[in-house]
């Protein structure tokens, strides 16, 4: 089952979602970068811009056309919306000599995202496994996730740092969305050739004017996506990689990379799958109420592994090794998939441009390793 929307009808979709009480988010230009922001209309989206990304480099340039989704992933990801950087877990109030604990109230926010990319859906599916698949679950994430509505956009122009094709996570989405679309240039205008992912998606789209695509349009959408897969300039060879990293914790390359790495943690904050958090306990001035929050943490911080009076991973070598080996090796053992979806954010937002798709092949070639 599929559908086609005109641009004006895409705007209707935003309106229908808002009528249903969703807060609609989409890619917007903020501070010269693309980020997810709340929108009331598609006019606010990052129209007519393309992102130029490279190791440690990011800029936006004007496109020759006015495509809405003519860019790739921005600095923020769905993680910011469904797994926010800081949130309360419980509060306590003094109750005589004791305390009364209350789980933090669910946000109640229903988030709809328009323009999520395939790699981001893959990252959310990884978060589902990590945060909801075990014996204990993250209740806040579960509530946000259940309430969320996802409209994904297939990528037809891969960016310079993307390598989703080699990770098997893109450029077209094959699950994890309520509605998915490909943006196509047709006769000087734009069409959004789409498919349904859920009944909820179908029910929403019923209230938006649309028509049924013909076979040619469906074929055009498909070939635009597969052309993008073929045009991807970057790749990561994943066969044997988990085993290689697990058995090379003492490779000399770790020190070489650590010479450049600042341990700033940007990579972990930008990564859509990094899930490590720390806790913050605070108390009101009169001591009557206390709050226990979690906030994103990073394995690059010294506090992260603090134990017995000192950090377990004091050197940057050890911290970089922890990050990469967890992401690409330990993760497979823990959760049954790689922790990387090939979005390239850690490459772009690394201030010194460390690019593990280049470091790993070098590391594997080094015979002294």
């Amino acid at each position: 089952m599929s559908f086609v929307l005109k641009r004006s009808e895409l705007d209707q979709l935003v309106t229908v979602l808002r009528e249903d009480g969703y807060q609609v988010y989409g890619p917007v230009v903020v501070d010269r970068a693309i980020r997810y922001r709340r929108i009331d209309s598609i006019d606010e989206l990052a129209i007519g811009v393309r992102d130029v990304q490279g190791p440690g480099r990011y800029s936006l340039v004007e496109r020759a056309d006015d495509a809405i989704f003519g860019h790739t992933v921005g600095v923020t990801s769905l993680k910011d919306l469904f797994f926010p950087p800081r949130r309360a877990v419980w509060t306590a109030a003094r109750d005589g000599d004791s305390y009364r604990f209350e789980p933090a109230a669910p946000t109640g926010a229903r988030v709809a995202v328009i323009g999520a990319r395939s790699c981001e859906l893959a990252a959310m599916s990884i978060h589902d496994t990590v945060l909801l698949g075990g014996e204990y679950v993250d209740a806040d994430y579960e509530a946000r996730r259940k309430a969320g509505f996802i409209v994904s956009i297939d990528c037809t122009e891969p960016g310079e740092v993307c390598f989703c094709a080699s990770m098997g996570t893109g450029p077209g989405a094959d699950g994890g969305f309520d509605l998915a679309m490909t943006e196509l240039r047709v006769d000087g205008g734009w069409e959004y050739v789409g498919r349904y992912g859920t009944q909820r998606g179908e029910a929403i789209l019923e209230r938006v004017e649309h028509r049924v695509p013909d076979q040619i349009e469906i074929g055009q959408a498909r070939s635009a996506v597969s052309a993008a897969a073929g045009a991807m300039g970057r790749e990561l060879t994943v066969t044997g990689l988990p085993e290689f990293l697990a058995s090379h914790r003492q490779h000399p390359s770790w020190a070489d990379i650590a010479d450049r790495c600042l341990a700033c943690g940007n990579c972990t904050q930008a990564c859509p799958t990094c899930f490590c958090v720390s806790t913050i306990d605070t108390s009101s001035l009169d001591g009557a109420t206390m709050t226990h929050d979690v906030r994103w943490d990073s394995c690059f911080s010294l506090d992260f592994s603090f134990m017995g009076g000192r950090p377990q991973r004091a050197s940057i070598d050890a911290r970089y090794r922890q990050w990469l080996t967890h992401k690409l090796s330990g993760w497979v053992e823990q959760f049954g998939s790689s922790g990387c979806v090939g979005c390239g954010r850690c490459i772009t937002w690394c201030p010194v441009g460390i690019d593990f798709t280049a470091e790993i092949p070098r590391m594997m070639e080094r015979i002294d390793g």
Partner: protein, 278 residues
């Protein structure tokens, strides 16, 4: 009783008794003050123990598993959170959630000799197992307990050590780094006592807890004495913020020490422990 989500929310527990073990270690006996019943635990399981507004930290339960006193925790004053917990007076309230993690392989004890190896505070998570094995396991063989501390004054549970030494087929071997004049036990590392301990326990099942460095040395030494690495069990310590596999802090290679551990079979972790800064 507890549903899954609410076990992540702490419960208030009243301090009903307090005992000073050494100059910086205190045992607190606690009981729920929310009108609900206490929870049970398996030896070596831990709880997240805290003070609202200050924080919570992982601590092993140190009491006899069948005690009527609910739970006890034996805590070294190591920093802000442990200071707030151990500073709570009798009648005051701390928070507890748990129990979490794996436990000692008590079910493997039948028909086996057992060697307990503890360094410093490592006797706390072993205490409940020693009770369970030495007192209660009818099918066990001989038991050896090797315990090392910095000084005689740093030895925990001295009363228990005396009682355990009086059980049939239980030998207690003690050592300190820095002896006093009255000290009659050994001097040096726990490994120095293995020879005499292994005289009375044959191809034992080993349960060991102490600082990483102690366990690395003791593990190597035991393996060199022909003990099968798969017969050695260790309990590990790592930074923990959640204790349930959600915060990422406790990782050791591919393991989450909070849920895959804290008790792990030595052959699964020996390489990772030996390596620097993993």
């Amino acid at each position: 009783m507890d549903d899954q989500a609410s076990t992540l929310i702490p419960r208030p527990f009243e301090v009903v008794a307090k005992r000073r073990e050494t100059h910086d270690v205190t045992t607190l006996m606690v009981e729920p003050s929310d009108g609900r019943s206490c929870f049970g635990f398996e030896p070596a399981q831990m709880g997240m123990i805290g003070v609202p507004g200050v924080g919570e930290v992982p601590i092993s339960f140190s009491n006899h598993p069948d005690t009527s006193r609910c739970l006890s925790v034996t805590i070294r004053n190591a920093g802000a959170v442990t200071a707030a917990i151990t500073g709570t007076e009798v009648g005051g309230v701390i928070t507890v959630r748990g129990p979490y993690g794996t436990s000692w392989p008590i079910d493997l004890v039948a028909g086996r000799d057992v060697l307990f190896v503890a360094g410093g505070l490592g006797l706390a998570p072993l205490r409940s197992a020693v009770f369970a094995v030495a007192e209660e396991s009818a099918e066990r063989g001989s038991v050896g307990i090797v315990y090392g501390a910095k000084t005689p004054e740093d030895m925990l549970f001295k009363g228990d050590l005396e009682i355990w030494g009086e059980y049939d087929d239980v030998d207690v071997h003690l050592t300190v780094d820095a002896p006093t004049e009255e000290w009659t036990g050994g001097v040096g590392l726990v490994t120095a006592l293995f020879e005499e301990a292994l005289d009375s326990v044959r191809t034992p099942l080993v349960m060991m807890c102490g600082p990483d460095l102690m366990m690395i040395n003791a593990g190597r030494d035991l393996v060199a004495r022909d003990i099968d690495p798969s017969d050695i069990w260790v309990t590990l310590e790592r930074n923990m913020k959640c204790a349930v596999g959600l915060c990422g802090h406790c990782q050791l290679g591919p393991l989450f020490v909070c849920k895959d551990g804290p008790v792990l079979r030595y052959d699964r972790v020996a390489d990772l422990l030996e390596m620097r800064e993993v």
